[in-house]
């Protein structure tokens, strides 16, 4: 089992429904977010202008620098390749926040580092992560890369995509469809 997510930038409108859904699903405190929207503008008015949105979150990297640098093992990888933090083991040193090339982690006001879990509590029950389940543009696709018939495997076979910070060598599992 290898979980991954794709964001279809042809459809994303940057509405941030994924951000609110994550907040209510995972009790993310106000002022913080596990996922967020980035608007990218290229070209110039009027002929070459291009805009797209990226719904971003933890990339649940195969080679996760946050896990490598964690001194207590609080940051770890669970089944399906999901990168998680055990709050009780986290000493709040912040090394993982520094190490993450995607800015996906933050200090929770309760004193530990928090981040996206791919909603593993939902995924275990056969549900999509909260962000995927609400998206009104159906631009988020989640699933198991080991299952070649899963929608995520299919879409990565059929569509062109890119990943963020490929040079960092993290082998990320968040894909952006062109």
């Amino acid at each position: 089992m290898r979980y991954a997510m794709a964001v279809d930038t042809r459809k994303c409108v940057g509405c941030a429904d994924c951000v609110v859904a994550c907040q209510t699903e995972n009790n993310v405190p106000f002022g913080y977010a596990r996922d967020w929207i980035v608007e990218i503008v290229n070209g110039s008015y009027p002929d070459t202008l291009k805009v797209h949105f990226e719904s971003r979150r933890c990339h649940h990297c195969d080679d996760a620098p946050c896990v490598r640098v964690c001194p207590t093992g609080a940051s770890h990888i669970v089944e399906g390749g999901i990168v998680k933090v055990t709050p009780e083991e986290c000493i709040g040193c912040g090394a993982c926040i520094e190490a993450c090339p995607y800015g996906a982690r933050y200090f929770h006001p309760d004193g530990y580092v928090d981040k996206c879990t791919f909603c593993d509590h939902r995924v275990k029950n056969g549900q999509d992560p909260a962000c995927v389940s609400v998206c009104p543009t159906y631009c988020l696709i989640f699933g198991d890369l080991d299952d070649e018939n899963s929608p995520i495997s299919k879409v990565l076979r059929e569509r062109e995509y890119y990943t963020l910070a490929p040079d960092a060598g993290t082998k990320p599992n968040l894909y952006f469809l062109k």
Partner: protein, 744 residues
């Protein structure tokens, strides 16, 4: 502008605010369920009740999820619901913030001392109702019942509309009509004999070509349409966007036409010209179903793409090419009518042009074009006949605006002013769930009208700006705490949805139906309220169509069989409910009323030197000003930015994030400053300001003074002569980099 004397915002005691839960003051409050719980609850541990979202007018059905302690933890869509298909938009997902907002109105408030004094006292509901009933009696004795006007919005509105009918006044208006969509409805009624209603029956889901004219799907989160557009993109549809701004929809389009603002009719006429003179129109459909084709053909003879190019600044080849794209897809093409269509004062004619184009392409009543929506025939709960008023909104509206189909807020305001001395005076305002200061252009006039009233009552959830002008403020429960009338809307599948309370109303707030009924009883209208609880009404209605309240509580949404076709069957002789029984390319209604029977391009005002056209619009995470204080949605977009083209920024020496003030053509300066966003996404002759920000009510602690409200800069209103609709896009602003001196 003069200092407003009557203005004061209510003082709200802090009792009931979740003060103890504040862990970091900078982030406001944290609802109790957010505290120290690292493991999110599973849905199997939660209790769900059905709701219909009230954060916008799309009215998506969903589920409210509560934990075992009774705290609402989330709201999600109902999969049976054709409005949402089980997916709410960000505002619906964050809808629980309306319930948790610590700034909510908490108990009835009555102004103390003489009218115009600055103090409110907390009151019981009985005291508030007695006060209102007494004042209404005085107004009735002096001016008649018709002098009591009702302004309403949203799902609470119908409870008060019913009360008004029972009381014997039909002096009412819904701002959402004349400020938003009436020109579209009338444009389509004049053409097809029927309007579009809501949700609009555009078959975007199945279309091959979607044309958006100043309609920014994706920034307006009209949920079903956003989903449909995604579906269409997935299936290879061509999207054509006409907008002076590179909207989100433009970003997803094959063609973007950065039109000069105010010239849309010229483009639409040129598209008609190409369809007709390049022989691309749907001849069979036009011959069979339309009236007045030869008139139209003659009318558009000279409206070539070259002609339109000089007016719109668009490339004539692009005009021709996009018309060919539409024809290639026809009849599976939607020229979308939009929703907020009150732009330049000739808006009914622009919508007529859109309706005509759809007819030339044969899209009306065809798959991928427009479908026919259908709703359940649901009987009203029986009531005695209403009293006929001596005069109504019609008396004061339809002489002037001959095709007005509903009350026009601005007309009621005109009759509320001190200088109005005719027989149809308005002397009392009852305002339900609409912040008229923000929703109606020309604020100064609205405020003068308010100050001329003997009674102003406001029913609202939040201390919005209008509550500062009230004599009595009644706190309404949020949609998560109340029943309402059944949602019986038109759609592909006729269906009924239920909103029921997930929790008890917070503080002393009460559901709208209860407020209307209690006031009705105080006004001696008991016979119109033979029921005690609205549940009796809902159950009775549902039983008439073979269901029950018990059933709806379980499913939330129930589907019913269609009785009419979804599309016009091929070759079928379809009767249209117009004078000619055909689709009227040449409108016999409009010509009889003395208006142009076919749309004509007329030049609109241009910005004076140094000024830019003020374009306003929406952000996807807010419903106008209603959600900018919602703790979940506020942090997604706490303030607006004014969009400025890089050339303009260079000329004025502006930097990204710089605070500026805006001054309009009439010398009106924005109350607050707004940050600049320099972007290629806007024409150099225009600036763009998302609506709903710059709240002036200090009681809205999050939203107060965050950004600039476009509405206060909209002092020039272009009235549509056909419907009375208020065109708001002929205002121009210049950018001030220094804080201006206070106006005298």
């Amino acid at each position: 502008m003069k200092e407003i004397t009557r203005r004061d915002f209510i003082k709200i005691t802090s009792a009931g605010v979740v003060g103890a839960a504040i862990s970091k003051p900078v982030f406001g409050f944290i609802p109790p369920f957010l505290k120290k719980d690292h493991n999110p609850p599973l849905e199997s541990e939660l209790i769900k009740t059905p709701t219909v979202c009230d954060i916008c007018f799309w009215k998506c059905a969903g589920w409210v999820w509560k934990d075992k302690k009774g705290n609402i933890v989330k709201v999600t869509g109902n999969e049976l619901d054709p409005h949402s298909n089980g997916r709410l938009c960000p505002r619906g997902t964050g809808g629980l913030g309306a319930y948790y907002d610590p700034d909510r109105l908490k108990r009835p408030l009555i102004r103390v001392g003489k009218p115009g004094s600055q103090k409110f006292k907390e009151a019981t509901w009985d005291e508030a109702f007695d006060y209102i009933a007494e004042k209404m009696k005085q107004i009735e004795q002096k001016y008649g019942r018709e002098a009591m006007a009702l302004f309403y919005h949203g799902t609470t509105g119908p409870h008060f509309e019913y009360l008004w009918e029972a009381y014997g006044s039909q002096t009412y208006a819904e701002p959402a009509i004349a400020q938003c969509l009436v020109t579209r409805e009338v444009g389509f009624i004049a053409t097809y004999g029927q309007g579009l209603s809501s949700p609009e029956p555009t078959d975007v889901r199945n279309t091959k070509c979607l044309v958006l004219i100043g309609n920014h799907i994706g920034e307006n989160m009209h949920n079903g349409h956003v989903q449909d557009m995604s579906h269409a993109i997935d299936h290879g549809a061509t999207v054509i966007t006409v907008d002076p701004r590179f909207s989100t929809a433009a970003a997803h389009s094959k063609y973007w036409l950065p039109i000069k603002p105010g010239t849309d009719i010229a483009l639409l006429l040129a598209w008609m010209h190409v369809l007709i003179y390049d022989n691309l129109y749907n001849k069979e459909y036009v011959d069979k179903y339309t009236y007045g084709f030869d008139y139209l053909k003659g009318h558009v003879r000279n409206f070539t793409p070259q002609w339109a190019s000089t007016i719109t600044t668009l490339d004539p080849n692009l005009i021709r090419k996009t018309a060919h794209e539409m024809a290639k897809a026809a009849p599976s093409v939607v020229i979308h009518p939009g929703r907020h269509t009150a732009w330049y004062g000739d808006d009914t004619q622009r919508e007529r042009a859109i309706a005509i184009l759809n007819a030339l392409l044969g899209a009306w009543g065809k798959r991928g074009g427009f479908y026919f929506s259908e709703k359940v025939s649901l009987p009203q709960f029986p009531h005695p006949p209403f009293q006929e008023p001596r005069w109504s909104w019609r008396t004061i509206t339809t002489d002037k605006y001959k095709y007005a189909i509903a009350g026009v807020t601005n007309v009621l305001i005109d009759h509320s002013l001190p200088e109005y001395d005719g027989p149809y005076k308005v002397k009392g305002w009852f305002v339900v769930a609409t912040n008229l200061i923000q929703s109606i252009p020309d604020q100064e006039k609205t405020i003068r009208a308010l100050q001329n009233q003997d009674l102003v009552v406001v029913v609202d959830i939040l201390p919005s700006e209008i509550t500062g002008y009230a004599d009595v403020i009644l706190p309404e429960a949020t949609y998560l705490e109340r029943y309402d009338l059944l949602r019986n809307s038109r759609h592909r599948v006729p269906n009924i949805a239920l909103r029921m309370p997930a929790v008890e109303p917070k503080y002393e707030s009460k559901p709208g139906w209860w407020i209307a009924r209690e006031l009705g009883i105080r006004l001696g209208l008991e016979k119109y309220y033979p029921w005690k609880d609205i549940k009796e009404v809902l159950d009775w209605q549902l039983r008439q169509v073979g269901s029950s309240l018990e059933e709806l509580k379980k499913v939330g949404v129930k589907h019913f069989e269609r009785k009419t076709p979804l599309y016009i069957p091929d070759g079928y002789d379809w009767p249209f409910p117009t004078n000619t029984g055909k689709i009227e390319l040449y409108s016999t209604d409009l010509v009889a009323m003395g208006y142009d029977p076919m749309p004509v391009y007329k030049k609109h005002d241009e910005p004076p030197a140094g000024f830019y056209r003020l374009i306003y619009g929406r952000v996807p995470m807010h419903s106008f000003g209603r959600t900018t204080n919602n703790p979940y949605l506020h942090e997604l977009r706490p303030e607006n930015h004014v969009w400025v083209h890089p050339k303009v920024a260079k000329l004025l020496g502006l930097e990204n994030g710089q605070e500026v003030w805006l001054e309009n053509q009439d010398g009106k300066v924005s109350t607050f400053s707004v940050k600049v966003r320099i972007t290629e996404r806007i024409r150099p002759d225009s600036v763009y300001l998302p609506h709903g920000f710059g709240q002036k009510s200090k009681q809205l602690r999050k939203a107060y003074a965050r950004g600039v409200l476009d509405n206060e800069l909209i002092t020039k209103v272009k009235i549509d002569p056909i419907t009375g609709s208020t065109g708001m896009r002929s205002n121009f602003v210049r950018i001030l980099t220094q804080k201006p001196n206070k106006q005298s």
